[in-house]
């Protein structure tokens, strides 16, 4: 720093002092140089659709504050061969015309009438320009608090723009960026453009119509109205938000849809608002009038409409989300984990005579359970929220028992329907509509395939487990205001299951042992069925053994008796002839004995057994696994008195006995081997008198005990794979009502494979993903169905010509795409638009849907949002200067009125331009 000392001459010897503003200026100039913004900018073609995006961001400090300098530039929106914006040529004819004088791009852009309501970029709409530099504070602390500050900065910027011959407009935000107060400047050295905006909470009502705004525009220019001026060109857009008449939806329960997994909206239809933005393209001053008392802007006579369907609801999720939603972590946590389903019912469940499974059974005491001596279960039961007749139908449905009384079910369902509708009175029209919608939402495809899209590990279609999963899910949906309905159904299911078990009736489909490709719950149900089968078989055997004991021995081998003939039940437990005679008593035939079945195993039992086997030493392991062989030896000895080990081998392990040489294999002759030891120790006992290997009673009681103690969460977890599979399959079914694209089908198959993996490995993340997918697809489906119905209804009420089927489909697709975009798409992609002409058939259909003919003139005047663009070619500052286009965009909403000006001046009054 220069110091002034006595007797020294004042001298500046340090030239490094630079003000903050100079710093800023230098940096800003640097940026302009970087972009090479020092000459005419190219005029962009109107033929290519551009999107304005921020292509570069710089930071500059001004004092302590940081400013963000963004470069907003147009890039071709669609895949255009010419991606390089800088070199897009202006249309040929223009080039020819102005071959020698390249125009000031900003002036051209502002004058461009194509920059009307067709554009979607807000900056272009507001000011009519497509390239600019925007200065904004980097954080809220460093905002320009008033216009003076901005003017200071802009003053500086103007100097730089002029000195570097930059014609790109520069904008600077005042206060918070969200307030949208902005000031801008552009100049080519001769003429200038000043950009500014006015944002008010509420503009004076005097200025709310087109006539008023027109005065405002002209007055802002300081121009008096004169007949000598060129006419102002205007464009306007009125956005009307029309509520749709019916937004409620009531599930209409019918006997037909009773057993279908519920689909459709939960309580309200996907859309309740029709938004029509009616645009009048550039028209001349005085050709249309709008003032306080009159409006020419009849929505039906606008140039075109932009249509959107919206919902005021915060969530559009459908029933499938409700069904799968219970598997979300937060929902699961909300369920009490310490209560089983019976306890949840509390006083609604009378356990008069406790069925066996409710006694505190231990594994040891399970075998003591007596068969067929149970209290009548009819006395006990639930009296929860679900009416008994309905409950009975559910249980019958689960066990696939013919509905004895369809009428009473229909009656019950009607009661349910009435209850849900009682609060809201619907007109007859709406009722009819509701039923129509319901048929669409609950579409039942008679050709629905009986196979899965992918090999899910879940219950197969048409099994009891499959229907149980659907019933429980539907109970939850049908009676969503009654959280006890679901546990009640589970308890009733268990009571019926117990009853059927006692009566030895079929409880689940089983083919050839337990199907390990099905889920764990399904395997338990199959196991129960196998227990029932085993008990039946044992009872038969005991009965016949009993009768064999009582009758005299009258059995004689008849002539037709051969090795294939299955013998009558007999005391020796002989099944049939083996075909050879005994080794040591050659004249006595050898019999194959009736043998015991091995214990079937569910996946869980296999895992437990394997773990147990692993924990044992070799001897115990062999001992454990010899169970079946030992039983076979006993049966064989009982069937063949006088048989030796070699005989047993000939039947049981023919590989170990050579019939030609009459020798036993070496490995069976190893001294003291377990086979020989077991043979010697085995007593002749026919199967009927042996200890059971498959202890069906014990296993069945264990399963029923697990079922009875299950919490609601556990029950839902058991149903999970099946319910997910049912949901995915149901989605495919309902979508088949209108056909889906190939791409979507592929997506579906892919999702099915993820589900197959999720059901196999129980991966929660996969399940979440599928749950999300199903909810979204259902929502889209609901939207489509709703729109289909709206168009269908419109067709009935409108005059011909009717919109064609393809037009309607395309309209639905576009409307759904817009809704989907607004719901989920976080991408920066532009919102899709759906543009129609009001007088086209599809436009008239939309008018019927929105009942636009019922709009009053007052409603037309006060559209929900009114926008105007004014373009005026006007000489400024004096009548002798070259006329330039001025532009104003007005955006009037109920809570905010904004005006944006692009004002030209053909005389450059800026001192800085002298540089």
């Amino acid at each position: 720093m220069a110091e002034i000392e006595e007797n020294t001459v004042f001298e500046i010897n340090d030239f490094t002092i630079v003000t903050d503003m100079e710093h800023f200026g230098a940096a800003f100039e640097g940026i302009l140089q970087k972009y090479e913004f020092s000459s005419r900018r190219p005029c962009l073609s109107n033929d290519v659709k551009y999107r304005l995006i921020v292509t570069d961001t710089n930071m500059i400090s001004i004092g302590e504050n940081k400013l963000r300098i963004e470069l907003l530039q147009p890039v071709p929106a669609s895949s255009n061969p010419s991606n390089d914006v800088e070199f897009v040529e202006a249309p040929k004819d223009e080039i020819e015309e102005d071959a020698h004088v390249i125009p000031f791009t900003v002036a051209e852009e502002v004058a461009n009438l194509k920059h009307g309501f067709e554009v979607t970029d807000s900056f272009l709409l507001k000011f009519g320009i497509r390239e600019c530099i925007i200065i904004s504070p980097n954080d809220s602390s460093g905002t320009f608090t008033d216009e003076n500050q901005v003017n200071t900065v802009m003053g500086n910027i103007k100097t730089i723009l002029h000195s570097s011959r930059c014609e790109v407009p520069v904008f600077c935000y005042i206060k918070d960026q969200s307030l949208d107060m902005i000031s801008g400047y552009a100049s080519d050295g001769n003429s200038t453009y000043n950009f500014s905006s006015v944002v008010l909470r509420n503009i004076n009502r005097r200025h709310c119509s087109m006539t008023d705004l027109l005065y405002l525009f002209k007055e802002h220019l300081g121009a008096s109205i004169s007949a000598f001026h060129e006419e102002v060109r205007m464009s306007s857009r009125f956005t009307h938000v029309v509520p749709l008449k019916q937004s409620k939806y009531f599930r209409n329960h019918t006997v037909e849809t009773f057993g279908l997994l519920a689909t459709g909206p939960t309580s309200s239809l996907p859309f309740d608002i029709l938004e029509i933005a009616a645009t009048w393209r550039f028209f001349r001053e005085n050709s249309l009038t709008e003032n306080h008392s009159h409006s020419d802007f009849d929505i039906n006579y606008s140039s075109y409409w932009n249509i959107k369907m919206k919902s005021t609801k915060s969530s559009l999720l459908g029933v499938l989300d409700e069904i799968l939603g219970v598997y979300r972590e937060d929902t699961r946590k909300a369920i009490r984990s310490d209560l089983n389903c019976a306890l949840i019912l509390g006083k609604h469940y009378t356990q008069k005579e406790l069925p066996n499974a409710f006694q505190k059974l231990t594994i040891n005491s399970a075998s003591e359970v007596k068969i067929g001596k149970h209290a009548e279960t009819e006395d006990s039961g639930t009296n929860g929220p679900m009416p008994p007749a309905l409950m009975k139908s559910w249980v019958n449905f689960i066990f696939n028992e013919a509905e004895s009384d369809n009428e009473s079910l229909a009656h019950e369902l009607n009661m349910l329907n009435a209850a849900s509708m009682s609060e809201n009175q619907l007109s007859d029209d709406e009722l009819v509509n509701n039923v129509k919608l319901d048929t669409l939402f609950n579409y039942k495809n008679p050709k629905s395939a009986n196979t899965f899209l992918a090999p899910y590990k879940c219950a197969k279609k048409s099994t009891v487990t499959w229907r149980l999963a659907i019933a429980l899910a539907n109970a939850r949906v049908f009676m969503s205001d009654q959280p006890r309905a679901e546990p009640q159904l589970w308890v009733e299911f268990l009571l019926k299951l117990r009853e059927k078990y006692e009566k030895m009736e079929t409880v689940e489909k089983v083919y050839n042992g337990i199907d390990h490709l099905q889920c764990s719950f399904s395997q338990k149900m199959q196991m129960l069925q196998l227990c029932i089968d085993a008990r039946q078989k044992r009872h038969r055997m005991l009965d016949s053994a009993h009768s064999a004991n009582n009758s005299d021995e009258f059995f004689d081998a008849n002539e037709s008796f051969n090795a294939e003939t299955i013998l009558e039940p007999n005391n020796e437990g002989r099944l049939k002839l083996f075909g050879l005679n005994l080794v040591e008593i050659p004249d006595v035939p050898m019999y194959i004995p009736v043998t015991q079945d091995a214990c079937p195993l569910t996946d869980e039992m296999i895992d437990a057994r394997n773990e147990h086997l692993f924990s044992l030493d070799e001897e115990d392991r062999v001992h454990l696994q010899m169970e079946l062989v030992k039983s076979d030896m006993q049966s064989f000895k009982a069937a063949n008195a006088g048989a030796v080990f070699a005989d047993f081998l000939r039947w049981h392990s023919p590989k170990d006995y050579d019939e030609k040489t009459n020798t036993i294999s070496e490995r069976m002759l190893i001294s003291n081997n377990v086979w020989v030891r077991s043979w010697e120790a085995a007593l002749p006992i026919p199967v009927a008198n042996q200890a059971r290997i498959f202890n069906d009673t014990k296993i069945a009681e264990e399963i029923l005990e697990i079922f009875n103690n299950a919490t609601l969460d556990q029950v839902r977890e058991w149903m999970k794979p099946t319910v997910f599979a049912a949901t995915l399959e149901r989605l495919t079914e309902i979508e088949s009502s209108y056909g889906v694209s190939e791409e979507k089908q592929k997506q579906r198959t892919k999702t099915a494979k993820i589900l197959a993996n999720a059901t196999l490995n129980n991966t929660p993340m996969d399940y979440n993903e599928i749950s999300k997918y199903c909810s979204q697809i259902e929502m889209i489906h609901n939207m489509k169905v709703h729109l289909m119905q709206l168009f269908e209804n419109a067709r009935e009420k409108m005059h011909p010509p009717y919109p064609s089927e393809t037009d309607v489909q395309s309209a639905i697709k576009q409307l759904v795409n817009i809704a989907v975009h607004n719901l989920w798409d976080n991408s920066t992609d532009e919102e899709p638009t759906f543009v129609i002409k009001p007088q086209d058939p599809i436009g008239r259909a939309i008018a019927v849907i929105g009942k636009l003919d019922e709009l009053t003139e007052q409603q037309l005047i006060n559209g929900h949002r009114k926008e105007y663009i004014f373009n005026w070619k006007h000489s400024c500052p004096s009548t002798t200067t070259i006329p330039m286009t001025h532009r104003m965009y007005a955006d009037l909403r109920s809570d905010k009125h904004s005006l944006y000006f692009s004002m030209a001046n053909d005389c450059n009054f800026s001192n800085s331009s002298y540089l």
């Binding site: 042992g513 337990i514 390990h516 091995a598 195993l601 996946d603 296999i606 895992d607 057994r609 086997l613 692993f614 070799e618 392991r621 062999v622 454990l624 696994q625 010899m626 079946l628 062989v629 076979d632 049981h652 392990s653 590989k655 170990d656 070496e666 490995r667 069976m668 190893i670 081997n673 377990v674 086979w675 889906v740 694209s741 979507k744 997506q747 892919k750 999702t751 494979k753 993820i754 993996n757 196999l760 490995n761 991966t763 929660p764 993340m765 996969d766 993903e769 999300k772 979204q776 697809i777 889209i780 759904v816 795409n817 989907v820 975009h821 719901l823 989920w824 798409d825 976080n826 991408s827």
Partner: protein
Amino acid sequence: MSDDSSSPLTTLKILIIGESGVGKSSLMLRFVDDVFDPEQAATIGVDFRVTSMAIDGNRVKLAIWDTAGQERFRTLTPSYYRGAQGVICVYDVTSRSSFEKLNHWMQEVDTYCTNDNIIKMMVANKIDMPNRVVTREEGLKFAKRHRTLFIEASAKTKEGVQCTFEELIEKIIQTPDLWDNDRPSFRLGQPTGSSGGGGMCGC
């Protein structure tokens, strides 16, 4: 079993199946303990050995399940297959019937196997014996038809035994879908665009 997998990459379950007396137990014992007992007792139910081996620098733990070939034990078959990543199907080159039964065994694998990608290997055992009746070509042809690995071996002379297990394990390790299902997998559902509606609004 897999709980104590501290350092090994993974624990694999290998199942050995085949007709009675083709030498399943001998193969396993030769591989695990490097012993051969001509008087090997008939297996009861299932027998297992746990061992570990290094493949491509990765240590894997092996649980080898040696099943009984006798008909009567087959009622428990599904329980053996559960969770297996590899299956070795053995036949005896001196017994045509044991070779002819291979069809049946392959069918069983397809029926009970929960994992589509399970690696199958055909082993022609007892090639040291003079009274061979099944040729190498026949075995190879069968293996090709069923798309399985194939090897000839002799538990007695050790020939091909180590190779059998090494090749099988290597193939399993190359198929991570088989053993690496602990981590949540989105492999089937490659995120199509955004995870949201992006890919779904095709309508």
